[in-house]
């Protein structure tokens, strides 16, 4: 069949942009413009009479003083600085625990589960569709002074008397974060482990590697991208989390960055500028993570090609 020039007969090139237009317009109006509003409010001024933030839409007149305040507070070790350190520590601890718990689970389901694989995958996906707040509510019930966990621990003799788990304990919040975000870590890792070609592993074994060595030298390096993807995927929402510490402790001792943003934006009128500035700082963090992730993916792709 002779090849036609310029594609198929009857093709309207303008059809595709026209189809995309409503979606693009929507995203410009309700995603990009709001994004810009964060900057406008953070770099704006405060109305002296009503104490309301006055957004500055023209970048030429941007005033970064709210920014300066936020940065000064972070780096001179004010309450905000403590919160910053705590947030990083919580996210670090929770991510580490996610890797330690999540890797064996993802590995087993992807490569060793045999006939149970379908069922396990279904159960592993179930938490995605159970509301996050409901999963936290479940723990609020269990961790109550009068709740099942205290009863169990007292009955087993592990605790002399019921403990108030929900009264501002770091470990409760960290375990809450692990419980909340672990499914999001396991899934991309599962996908990466599932993709590994069995033949590669068998080749390693045929060449004399012990199963352990084959795991260490073949499976683990091949799943590194999955670990990275999972870690980034859970770190992004964890940095912005405020509901987990609020529900599982509610104490200022366990405040995270998100709690300050929530407070600045939702509970005060005049601190909207600080809230917006803090949101931008959070976005910088997240952007750094994303860039790191994208660079390492690009490097991995290049290595795979070479």
């Amino acid at each position: 069949m002779p090849k036609r020039e310029g594609g198929v007969v009857g093709e309207h090139r303008s059809l595709w942009p026209a189809l995309a237009a409503p979606g693009v317009a929507w995203l410009v109006l309700f995603f990009l413009a709001p994004f810009y509003a964060i900057f406008a409010v953070a770099m704006g001024t405060i109305d002296p009479i009503f104490l309301q933030p006055q957004p500055e839409w023209n970048p030429y007149f941007w005033d970064p003083s709210a920014f300066r305040d936020v940065f000064r507070e972070i780096f001179t070790g004010g309450a905000l600085g403590d919160t910053f350190v705590r947030t990083i520590a919580y996210v670090g601890a929770a991510s580490t625990l996610c890797i330690l718990i999540g890797y064996p689970v993802a590995y087993y389901v992807a490569r060793r589960a045999g006939r149970w694989k379908g069922l396990l995958l279904l159960l592993m996906l179930a938490p995605f569709w159970i509301n996050y707040l409901m999963r936290m509510l479940a723990w609020v019930n269990l961790l109550d002074v009068d709740g099942q966990l205290n009863r169990l621990l007292v009955a087993l003799g592990l605790l002399p008397e019921p403990r108030d788990w929900l009264a501002g304990h770091h470990e409760t919040v960290i375990l809450g974060l692990v419980y909340g975000y672990l499914p999001w870590f396991i899934l991309p890792l599962y996908a990466a482990l599932d993709r590994i070609d069995q033949n590669v592993l068998e080749a390693a074994r045929d060449l004399g590697a012990s199963p352990f060595k084959a795991f260490l030298r073949v499976t683990l390096p091949l799943s590194r991208q999955g670990i990275l993807a999972g870690t980034v995927l859970i770190m992004l929402p964890m940095f912005g989390d405020y509901y987990t510490p609020n529900l599982l402790s509610g104490s200022p001792r366990t405040r995270m960055i998100g709690n300050w943003i929530d407070f600045f934006v939702n509970s005060t009128v005049s601190a909207g500028g600080q809230g917006a500035a803090l949101t931008i700082v959070l976005m910088l963090f997240v952007a750094l993570l994303m860039v790191y992730y994208l660079v390492s993916v690009a490097r991995a792709t290049r290595e795979a090609k070479a």
Binding site: H12, L27, F30, P53, W139, N141, L247
Partner: protein, 308 residues
Amino acid sequence: MSAEAVVARPRPGILTRLRGWLANPWAQPRALAVFTWLYIAWSLIPVAIAVQFSFNAGRSRSTWQGFSLRWYISDPDLSVLHDPSLRMSLIQSLRLAGLTMLVATPIGVALALGLARWRGRAAQAANFLMLFPLVTPEIVMGVSLFLVFTYLYDFIPLGTWAQFLGHVTFSISFVVVIIRGRLFAIGRDYEEAAMDLGASQVEALRRVLLPMLAPAIFASFMIVFALSIDDFVISQFLATGAETITIPVRLYSTARLAPSPALNALASLMLFATLLAITMAGLFLRIARRRQAARGGSAVQDLARLEF
């Protein structure tokens, strides 16, 4: 030779087995199996207990006092049916999810079709813009929408309309990801065949491609419904007043202050609605795969892929 086959020796002594395990802890997946099942139990049993106590006859959330529907319908003041604040949040969640589903899905399908075939620099930029909401932390979207509705689009008041606009915004990208996956699997052949037989581009789209996409479109409806009903952060940032409180926001504000089995009942109703929507989405995706008679894999795996 698989790893399992290597270690299948007849009944070794405990010492040999220990030594074998130390030399090669990965050969016997039994410990891994136990660990995995423990993880599954840990991840699901707390929620199961929360659902169980929504059916408790008594007021306790930790002592079982018999089965009843008291907290759903029968209690005259405190049940989900009769407590106005609980009932209102149920209605608000369902209303918002229904509305979001009807608007976000068509926009997302059109955007997916457009982005899949449109070439050039503008298309790349649009694609980039579409991906952004997927990686933006919800709190950033919540703050940005709150600020834009307060200071720029101040003709749209905070509340139901703002919540609806916010929900559609984060749902569109998910629809694009689902539909694009199907489009990729279908390929361009059917469309081009229709056009070789004289159909115009629009006809080929309407009479060939859209019917082939139908199951994925229905799946998108269901998934957007589930995403919207599950959303907490954006709903909370854009809520004002009692009638704009959705179920997750209600759970958040009441869980520590005034918990009761009625709250568990409300959460359980949301869980049932989400699971129903997701089961239907899974069925639709399975139909899509069957029709296509594509390579192996299950609807569950399709859903697994869809998450990111």
